[in-house]
């Protein structure tokens, strides 16, 4: 008898393997299986190179909405949106002066979906600036920069600087009037140390200002060299720097044991409200054997180890929620309002008024008194002050709490008054009566550089916070006051620069009063 006509075993095996291939590809790509037990929820995270920037479990305090308000994640989301839309824009954008303008025009008016993508890019970039500032304010007010997170605060400042740098370099790319003149002013701000070196008479052999401007523009005026430099910074150097810094930022959050929380966070949280889906619903094992843990049943029923819950799904779903909300906001804004595009850049006729992006208008307001103070002096002072905060405030009370620390809410309320009061008063005075050079034309420039609304405001804020340090015997109290004051000053100056300055930087109550020609 001959055997029935079964295919030879080798072929049969090949057929079976072929059939199993899709399943096996999936299984080998995601080796942890479905995240349904505590164990697979953990492997889901730590066996994935992207997800493992997160810790496997997260403290319940971290998940409270009031802890982070999702602002860091919102910033990340806005960045990813600009990244994706930016790459799409690069298909059409040409970084050469007149061609640049034409290509943006094409993207706006000819390329299908081009305008929508450009709008999303522009809006997401603006949203990112707003959320990064709010995120910094939240880490400051919850005193989350303290030990062991000092250095992550510094990384955060690097992120802030790169974010602003990205916005500023992107502003030039359309090569329209707005872009050209904003960058001309920006480049000359880089050159403004000359205001001081000229006044002391050493520019001839020591000219850091001129060097900075030349480095930025690659020429002595804004032209093709400047455009290619800004383009390279915008699409390559700064995004890479941002991504590198972001990875370190996130990794350190994990290494620092999650987000900052008060020492008594566990007591304050109490027990979880009812069963927490889906981890703590499993019936407790009678015997707490090692096998129980391995099979995904945790002995600490109703309360995970150290009051934590698995990041998958609790943290991830929250992050995804913030992510989608940010996307929604950016899309809505992109549908409502178009990104601006003025006439082609004209190097012989300035845009009037020539305004930088809104978040620099506070500085532009200060620059209108002294280029060096507004453009270099005060920004450096603010950066240095911010960077030193975690190294000067070595206290412990109030970590992880909103407005925590000596003085607390009371100091912040008082500082709001001082901050708004002082900035409004000095601006009102300067707008009403002018400044020194209008009273004494021959006054030396150094006097104006040292005495102007910017320096006076900074001095008032500084003295007030020193007084707070003495009054409360606490650096934190002084920091609360100073940070709040500078935030108020930023808001007031930005609002004045944005809404109340018209042609020739003259004060107008509303754009309706601007002279027409």
């Amino acid at each position: 008898m001959s055997a029935p006509a079964t295919p030879p075993p080798a072929l049969q095996e090949l057929k079976d393997n072929l059939r199993a291939a899709p399943r096996r590809i999936f299984e080998t790509a995601f080796r942890s299986g479905k995240p349904t037990t505590d164990r697979t929820r953990s492997t889901f995270i730590f066996s994935n190179v992207f997800l493992h920037l997160h810790s496997v479990r997260v403290h319940r305090w971290t998940l409270r909405w009031s802890t982070s308000m999702g602002l860091g994640i919102a910033t990340t989301a806005a960045f990813l949106l600009t990244l994706i839309t930016g790459i799409l824009l690069m298909f059409y954008y040409k970084p050469y002066p007149e061609a640049a303008y034409q290509s943006i025009k094409d993207i706006h008016f000819v390329v299908p979906t081009g305008r929508f993508i450009r709008n999303i890019h522009r809006w997401a970039a603006n949203v990112m600036v707003v959320t990064v500032i709010l995120h910094m304010a939240r880490t400051f007010y919850t005193a989350s920069y303290r030990r062991p997170r000092e250095f992550n605060w510094l990384i955060g400042m690097g992120l802030l600087a790169v974010t602003l740098g990205l916005s500023f370099t992107g502003y030039l790319l359309p090569w329209d009037q707005l872009a050209y003149w904003a960058i001309t002013i920006g480049a000359n701000i880089a050159q403004s140390p000359r205001e001081v070196t000229d006044a002391v008479g050493i520019t001839g052999w020591f000219d850091p200002g001129g060097m900075q401007k030349f480095l930025l523009l690659g020429s002595d005026s804004v032209g093709p060299e400047a455009l290619i430099r800004f383009y390279l910074l915008h699409v390559m150097i700064l995004p890479l720097a941002l991504m590198a810094l972001m990875s370190v930022h996130f990794w350190r959050i994990r290494k620092d044991g999650g987000l900052a929380r008060p020492a008594d966070a566990d007591q304050r949280l109490g027990n979880p409200p009812g069963p927490v889906y889906p981890v703590f619903t499993e019936a407790p094992m009678k015997t707490y054997s090692l096998a129980a843990i391995v099979r995904g049943r945790t002995p600490a029923v109703g309360k995970g180890p150290e009051n934590t819950v698995p990041s998958m799904p609790h943290l991830f779903y929250a992050e995804l929620g913030v992510f989608m909300l940010t996307t929604l906001v950016c899309l809505a804004l992109a549908l409502i309002s178009d990104a601006p595009l003025k006439e082609l850049a004209n190097p012989s006729v300035p845009e009037n008024p020539a305004k930088a992006p809104w978040y620099f208008l506070g500085l532009q307001e200060l620059v209108s008194f002294s280029a060096f103070v507004g453009g270099i002096g005060i920004p450096l002072l603010v950066l240095a002050g911010l960077g030193l905060i975690p190294y000067l405030d070595r206290e412990e009370t109030g970590t992880g709490e909103w407005f925590g620390g000596p003085g607390g809410r009371y100091v912040v309320r008082q500082a709001l008054l001082v901050g708004f009061g002082a900035s409004l008063a000095i601006e009102a005075f300067a707008i009403r009566f002018g400044w020194i050079r209008e009273w004494y034309l021959a006054v030396p420039q150094l006097v104006v550089t040292i005495l102007n609304p910017g320096t006076i405001l900074a001095a008032v804020y500084g003295l007030y916070s020193v007084w707070l340090v003495k009054r409360y015997r606490s650096t934190r109290a002084g920091a609360l006051g100073l940070f709040t004051c500078f935030l108020c000053g930023f808001l007031v100056l930005t609002a004045i620069g944005t809404y109340f300055r018209g042609p020739n930087w003259v004060f107008y109550w509303s754009p309706g009063d601007w002279p027409r020609h």
């Binding site: 002013i185 403004s192 000229d198 030349f214 480095l215 690659g218 209108s368 020194i436 420039q445 020739n504």
Partner: protein, 161 residues
């Protein structure tokens, strides 16, 4: 260095540097110095030996009827040229504050960017500009003038046609 067999060695004797440490130090220092020199070289990269910029020198013929004290601005140039009884002079219209182009008016110049004002001879009349507008080199040529935006001259320097 190899240790001679039989040579008695105390733990207190200084150890000869093991080969591995030598290799490690050599690679570390060569890497550091390579990086340093590469960086020094790369720092020259952003400073082109020849700056790409449009020519700064240009010729103009002034209109016959240009009244004394009135500015003549050649198209696409940031220069205002004047003629008075003493001769011809050129004032740069690039604001000394942050580089906007100032506009000539009846009292001199005004800057659209932060409101600086200058007198007809370029002196500051209102801040924030820290310095007067620059006077530029003018040369008389047959029939016209050659202005060089790249060369400044002391204020008051005039040229006879």
């Amino acid at each position: 260095m190899t240790v001679m067999p039989g040579t008695p060695q105390s733990r207190l004797d200084p150890e000869p540097m093991p080969r591995r440490d030598l290799l490690g130090l050599a690679s570390l220092w060569s890497a550091a110095s390579a990086l340093l020199f590469a960086l020094l070289g790369a720092m020259r990269l952003p400073n082109a030996a020849i700056v790409a910029a449009p020519s700064k020198s240009f010729g103009v013929t002034l209109p016959e009827s240009l009244p004394a004290g009135e500015a003549f601005v050649p198209p696409n140039r940031a220069v205002a040229i004047f003629r008075d009884s003493e001769g011809v002079y050129a004032v740069s219209t690039i604001c000394t504050h942050l580089g906007c182009v100032v506009k000539p008016n009846a009292e001199g110049f005004e800057c659209p960017c932060h409101g600086s004002r200058f007198k007809p001879d370029g002196a500051v009349a209102k801040g924030p500009a820290p310095l007067p507008l620059q006077w530029l080199k003018v040369k008389a040529t047959n029939g016209g003038f050659q202005v060089d935006e790249g060369k400044t001259v002391p204020a008051g320097t005039r040229v006879k046609a």
